[in-house]
């Protein structure tokens, strides 16, 4: 990590975890990035990753609290991305 970057972990659940074949990854982002920029950065990988900004409804949590794309990120934050919940 450079002085102007932060590192965040990103977790995926349910349908998204299966489609991306990924439980968790780590990524560097410029300091001052928000949760939405995590999704935009990953969506540029193309393929299944494009659905992260493709209009499918998704929920975001930062450090296990519900968040929005505009939620700012700090170093070592945990960002979770998942489909709308269906428990109960």
């Amino acid at each position: 990590m450079t002085a102007s970057n932060i590192t965040v972990s990103v977790r995926f659940f349910a349908r998204l975890r299966e489609a991306l074949d990924t439980d968790q990854l780590s990524m560097e982002l410029p300091t001052g990035s928000n949760a939405g920029q995590v999704l935009e950065t990953l969506a540029r990988r193309g393929g299944e990753w494009s659905q992260l900004t493709g209009g499918t409804p998704l929920m975001i949590a930062v450090n296990q609290a519900m968040a929005r794309p505009s939620t700012p990120l700090n170093n070592n934050d945990e960002v979770a991305v998942f489909p709308p919940v269906t428990g109960g």
Partner: protein, 156 residues
């Protein structure tokens, strides 16, 4: 009391715990969700429930706190199962004890509605051939949203 567990639960023991919440308890409302064998997909053989450990418990505790701030309740107990479930299995239990019935009914329904749209659980339906993730229903979102518009009117 919040428990996320693969094991089945004993609704009778939960009810007894709510009865033991003190001599001021006059009303207990319980909700139990079961795996149905019919409905949208008659072919469903069972469910698999995934969750987000840690966040799930925190969200449900927060929902119970909201209910406690809004209604006069003495105790709330929530159990949600995860993993593989068979038809007719119990999935979820929400029980509320309070002095008056209106508070119990409203708090129990509020907790269940909020859980449906806020707690990070995902349900996969297991069919005789294949499986698929369940999509969230618009009606569940509307049901949860209605609590935003309501006053916390009480009756005794």
């Amino acid at each position: 009391m919040v428990s996320i567990q693969p094991e089945d639960f004993d609704a009778a023991a939960e009810y007894q715990a709510l009865r033991d919440s003190g001599a001021g308890t006059g009303a207990i409302v319980t909700f139990t969700g079961l795996v149905r064998d019919s409905g949208d997909k008659p072919d469903v053989r069972g469910l698999y429930l995934e969750h987000f450990p840690g966040m799930t418990e925190a969200v449900i505790e927060d929902v119970i706190q909201q209910a406690t701030a809004r209604w006069d309740i003495r105790e709330a107990r929530v159990i949600h199962r995860i993993g593989h479930l068979e038809l007719s299995d119990q999935i979820v239990f929400v029980g509320v004890a309070s002095a008056h019935r209106g508070d119990s009914f409203r708090a129990c329904q509020f907790i269940m509605d909020a859980l449906k749209t806020s707690a990070p659980f995902w349900k996969k339906e297991l069919m005789s051939e294949g499986e698929h993730w369940v999509e969230q229903k618009a009606s569940d979102r509307q049901q949860a949203d209605q609590w935003l518009d309501q006053d916390s009117d009480r009756e005794s």
